[in-house]
Amino acid sequence: MGKILCATRGGEASYRTQDAAIALAKERGDTLLFLYVVDLRFLDKTVAPIVVDVENEVTKMGEFLLLMAKERAAEQSVAADTICCKGKFREELKKAACEEGVSLVVLGRPAGEESVFKLASLEAFAAEIEAETGVETVIV
């Protein structure tokens, strides 16, 4: 029984990716591992008094989003674990793929013009993950 790593951010586009990962896990009999990366670079865009532990608050939100994903998997009778970590998305995803011993990484296809990734760069990123970690990566 393998482990599927699915990076998630929450939101409508992520639900589709989560559902695809859940379906894959069910089909293969694998467990699921949802990943959320806390990235606070948006705070660099403005000058504002950042005097509170924003990281902690966004981490709590990330854990909440992961709990939602976990509930979604449970509804399909798929067991899922979660990881919430801090840093840059690309590095943290590759790190989790290595450290957690996953057999498959699932990435969500760009939902439209507003997506963070364009399809070409996402395909390049998938190839990069496979090259650096040796873990099969699919775009769903």
Partner: protein, 582 residues
């Protein structure tokens, strides 16, 4: 500046008394042939009537070896910060009688002005003459320094508006360019001189810096107690399943809290938990977060401490906490109600799609995340905030600057709670304080070279003597500009213009132009997400939750909200300051 003027006037009066006492017994004429001591006192102003400092005063008398037309420089004096100068020289009575003495005022960036002294303007005794030289109005010339400072100023705003550089770095760069050019090329060629270091330091408003710094400390300590997250959950419970009611409670709570505490911190703490509530209720989080951010900006307009633009305006124009509350409080209230109405029209379908029974697991998680973690510190923090409010309300009685109130509150809280001071001070956002200091210098630079004066003259020409037109001009300009650039730099740059118009437009003594500026800067910042810091935070946190809000997405909500929240309070402005005049 007013104090300096008073000191200058006092010095002038004392000097006059001294001269008159020395003059006894009084003599109506001057004995020809003797030497007399001539004391000249005068003031130099610009076209706006503001003192021109650091100009040079030269007194010329005809050369002994030649006739009129070949003058000899006898005395040089420097003008103080209040624009006054005093020159004393000894010369023959014949020169005075011949009205041969002339005063020349010069300063880089201004046209050199020469003025002859008429005999009848002098009060003379046997050995002394005293003259109060009429105010000299120096006219601007657009020299190289003007264009360099203007380009630097525009470049800083462009860098900030398009996020080419971090706001602080952009302002820091601007200040460095202005000072660097002054102390390199400007040392050899006065046409390149923008401003000196001492002047730059004088432009920094330390009342603003200290107030913002101390409020950061207070909010930081209270923010750690979990109270804002608890409030968000309390709002969810009070809404009893109605998403529209929840949005109204959240907007009202955010507006009130933003009036008393820093609105960015409130957004940073409220936004993640609000998103969780929205997800649990299965409604689009943007329908709660965007209204919350807009309310943070609108509510912050109510008080001197609610939003940095207000803090800057209050300190510059010497407007106290109570004045702000009395004048901006009703405006903020009207704007908040208007905001709620517009939000309902925009998001009513989202609110209707609410899930009535949330998942128990998610609710349990939410309750875990929204607990008050340190009730003792919270009680102390609230008591200190209460004390600070009492001090703010009474500060005008004691002539206490707002920064001192902040200092008292922060110190009491630090001593009482005794957090790790190093950790606490390291959490003060020095980046923002450096931003403010650099920005004050950049704006000071363009003020020194005359750009602000030129813009103010331009607006004054448009407005003429019509206060209503001036008010609308300030309001409209500040609303549009704040939508494009962060409202803090815009307000800092626009303040000298509002101050000039307040001095020159008849009837503007009721400070309506400052309230127009505050209204425009605060509400205008809501049109785009780059216009104000709470909006940037809202978009950033939404993005972290997988809800990307584009520039255009925000405009669809921000523009109608801004239009309504500027238009409706404008009617109030007209009723209060132009029609009923109360």
């Amino acid at each position: 500046m007013r104090i300096r003027n008073r000191v200058g006037l006092a010095a002038l009066v004392l000097l006059s008394l001294f001269v008159l006492l020395r003059a006894a017994p009084a003599n109506s004429g001057v004995e020809t042939g003797d030497e007399v001591t001539l004391t000249l006192v005068g003031r130099v102003v610009n076209t706006q009537g503001t003192a021109v400092d650091e100009a040079e005063v030269r007194v010329f008398v005809p050369s002994a070896s030649s006739g009129r037309g070949s003058d000899e420089e006898t005395q040089v004096a420097h003008i103080g910060a209040d624009g006054f100068y005093v020159v004393e020289l000894t010369l023959s009575q014949a020169l005075i009688e011949a009205e041969a003495v002339a005063v020349e005022i010069s300063k880089s960036g201004f046209r050199t002005t020469r003025q002859g002294l008429a005999r009848q303007e002098m009060a003379c005794t046997s050995d002394r003459c005293h003259v109060r030289v009429p105010d000299v109005v120096l006219l601007r010339i657009f020299n190289v320094a003007f264009f360099i400072a203007t380009l630097t100023f525009v470049a800083v705003f462009v860098l900030i508006a398009f996020h080419v550089l971090h706001d602080t770095l952009a302002a820091f760069l601007g200040a460095t360019v202005m000072l660097g050019i002054s102390y390199t090329i400007g040392t050899f060629n006065p046409d390149f001189w923008i401003l000196g270091f001492d002047q730059a330091i004088e432009f920094i408003d330390f009342d603003v810096i200290f107030l913002i710094m101390t409020l950061m400390i207070v909010v930081s300590i209270i923010g750690r107690t979990g109270v804002f997250q608890w409030l968000a959950l309390a709002a969810y419970r009070a809404a009893r399943g109605s998403a529209w009611r929840l949005a109204v409670i959240l907007m009202a709570a955010t507006a009130v809290m933003s009036a008393l505490l820093n609105n960015v911190t409130i957004m940073l703490l409220m936004a993640p938990i609000t998103i969780q509530i929205a997800l649990m209720l299965e409604i689009n989080p943007t329908a709660l977060i965007i209204p919350e951010a807009l309310a943070a900006e609108v509510g912050g307009a109510a008080t001197l401490i609610g939003d940095p633009p207000n803090t800057v305006i209050g300190s510059f124009a010497d407007l106290g906490f109570n004045q702000f509350l009395m004048h901006m409080g009703p405006i903020a209230l009207i704007s908040t109600i208007t905001l709620m109405a517009v939000i309902y029209l925009i998001y009513r379908r989202d609110y209707a799609a609410v899930r009535k029974v949330p998942s128990p697991a998610l609710l349990a998680r939410l309750e875990k995340d929204a607990q008050i973690t340190d009730p003792v510190t919270l009680k102390r923090g609230l008591l200190v905030v209460g004390l600070m409010m009492a001090l703010f309300f009474t500060s005008e009685l004691f002539q206490m600057p707002p920064s001192v109130v902040g200092l008292i509150g922060a110190t009491i809280l630090l001593v009482w709670v005794q957090p790790n001071v190093e950790e606490m001070l390291s959490e003060v956002d020095w980046t923002m304080l450096v931003f403010f200091m650099s920005l004050f210098i950049v704006v000071g630079g363009v003020e020194e070279v005359g750009l602000i004066q030129w813009i103010a003259d331009f607006i004054a020409r448009i407005a003429g003597a019509d206060l209503f037109v001036a008010s609308l001009s300030v309001l409209g300009l500040s609303a549009v500009a704040s939508a494009i650039v962060n409202n803090i730099p815009f307000t800092t740059a626009a303040l000298p213009i509002a101050a000039f118009l307040t001095r020159t437009v008849p009837g503007a003594g009721n400070n309506v132009l400052y309230w127009s500026l505050s209204l425009g800067a605060n509400m205008g910042g809501n049109a785009t997400y780059i216009g104000s810091a709470p909006n940037v935070v809202a978009v950033g946190v939404l993005d972290r939750a997988g809800y990307r809000v584009t520039f255009v997405d925000w405009l669809k909500v921000g523009v109608p909200v801004t239009f309504a929240t500027v238009l409706v309070p404008s009617i109030w402005l007209w009723v209060r300051y132009f029609w009923l005049k109360f």
